[in-house]
Amino acid sequence: MKGAKIIIESLRKEGVEVIFGYPGGSVIPFFDVLYDAPIKFILTRHEQAAAHAADGYARSTGKVGVCVATSGPGATNLTTGIATAHMDSVPIVAITGQVKTSLIGNDAFQEADVTGITRSISKYNYLVKDVKDLAYTVKEAFHFARSGRPGPIVIDLPVDVQIQDAEFKYPEEINIRSYKPTFFGHPGQIKRALRLISKSKKPVILAGGGVVIANADKELLTFAEKIKAPVAITLMGMGGFPSTNPLSLGMPGMHGTVYANMAITESDLLISVGCRFDDRITGKLDAFAPEAKIIHIDIDPTSISKNIKVDIPIVGDAKNILGQLNKELEGFDVPDLSKWQTKVNEWKNKHPLAYKKNNTGKIKPQHIIEEIYKQTKGKAIIATEVGQNQMWTAQYYQFDYNRHFLSSGGLGTMGYGFPAAIGAKVANPDKEVIVIAGDGSIQMNIQELATLSMYNLNVKIIILNNHYLGMVRQWQELFYKKRYSGTPLKNPDFVKIAEGYGIKGLQVKKINEVEKKVKEILEFKGSVLADFLIEEEENVFPMVPAGEAINRMIGGMA
């Protein structure tokens, strides 16, 4: 069997149903086999979008997303998507063509050192030089992508290997002596954690992306309700715990709620589940949860005590460990937390998330998000771009379902949201998929309107158009004397752009149109690009200035 056929057959063995990508000289044999294969192919208009679409497919399903690109520029265009997936632990397999083996290292046409370039932005990568290694490589790649702390895997495949012959035998099992992720929590550590929980008077749970990835949402709900601890949900953790649950504190950190940050600061026990204590969560490190003992559940030992000194580390899969804890908690007497609950509720009542409505006559972005939430009843899959649009969505859409929020948290990649939404729609054709974008970020992959159009996908694009790169403008307003350097935008006519691609476009300018227009957008059978002209200098509040303690917030304390 030819190499190209071996790789396609191997992908089928791994259950791959769809591939996102872009052809080129070094992957023609691959595409030739794909032509007849029972695998759907989605042609994006830029390789970066193919990687993000595979990522959106993976985040919204938990399955491994697959993308393909040619050698050289095709592969380098994938790298932003690979790095995005790496930072947020998303399982994707990226297949890149490579020049033929005899030319590698010769600066051949469209040659790039792909394994060298992707080494630090992937979980693992391969250059397959022998067709006999191909099937095993694919098996291993999928194993690495989805197990342990998931991540992107790159398979660099020279064009001559794609046409060489080998016997196809897909390995049943693999055993790698140097790769043995821990899945269950150490029983001794579980007991120690329980001892701390039983003594705590002011516990807080910090739910991160690990909850989402491990599908540990039900276990976390049981756990939180059992120990009656409030739950702060990080950006990556959205959907891992219901935002509408009375125990929810919403998002902590730089643009977190006052009550989440106050609760963490005053807690005596912080139970982190699958959160790696990113600087956007902790703010000034020595003022972060200064009174608290810390239990840290994480599958990646390097996350533990990296930024924050941990008292009880528990390495393993969040779903398993929470299950173990819940089992031990049967018959557990919850300490009296009424004082703590009262205090948390006081903060919630005194400092709710809020914005000034109708004070300028222009549409407030928060209002749009609230309206979309109301009309979708929280059931839509929401992708965001990066910046103010992302933070407003995290603050004002209530995420009650796991794997319904797609956002580039770690790398903060503008241009992620729209192609990720395409990937999510391909994976979830029956679900409403919406991307909330800024007028800056939508233009980073706007060419994907062609992909939407070609495959007749139904994705709603909401542009919060303030004619600025809003988040940077906000920092300039607050910390750089309103010197708006490089942030004002002169935008195209987005409606015409949409129409040019054969997609319905509309513009919304008036506050009293928001409800009606959101309804029209959602009810339309097909994609819509909606350009909402919003209050231009609206800020995301509350906000913790970079490097400050998280209880020193500006805005939102009124």
Binding site: S120, Y124, L127, R177, S178, T302, I304, K306, K309
Partner: protein
């Protein structure tokens, strides 16, 4: 403070690059890194001397190494009894009193003259790192023309 760490790794293409790029990407300082095959030709041993001021950094280095898929085990020799050696080759230019100096060094340390050329000696020094440093201090007073060293290797007692 310097720490000696040993990593047993899969002996295959690209592993050294993975280890070295881990150190550069995360800003850890390597003093020396040596690598060679072990008794099992499928396994290589890397002996890495790293600079880490804080315990937290050392822990991170070990964990990050362990996280690399091709790393089989990581041993930290800090607080362990171990034997270490480093090999140096030095070309010492001959001067008036060179013979005396070299004879004196040979008496005091584990040094051998492996080449006695017309205008220089080539010395081979194989010793523990601390002695190697001492010898170097002595030698630096003379005319060192060339110096090459291997970096430290270590084995537990």
């Amino acid at each position: 403070m310097k720490h000696t760490i040993q990593a047993l790794v899969e002996n295959k293409f690209g592993v050294l690059a993975r280890v070295s790029s881990l150190f550069s990407a995360r800003g850890y300082n390597i003093t020396s890194l040596t690598v060679g095959e072990t008794q099992d030709s499928a396994v290589s041993c890397m002996t890495i001397v790293v600079e880490a001021e804080e315990e937290r950094i050392l822990e991170q280095i070990k964990k990050q190494l362990n996280k690399l898929i091709d790393v089989i085990t990581v041993i930290d020799f800090t607080n362990r009894d171990y034997i270490d050696r480093e090999l140096l080759l030095v070309k010492l230019g001959k001067e008036k009193n060179s013979k005396e100096v070299v004879d004196k060094l040979i008496k005091e340390y584990d040094i051998s003259v492996i080449e006695d050329a017309a205008d220089y000696y080539t010395l081979e020094i194989c010793d523990q790192r601390q002695y190697v440093e001492e010898i170097l201090k002595e030698l630096r007073q003379f005319n060192i023309r060339e110096l090459v060293r291997t970096g430290k290797i270590a084995i537990s007692r």
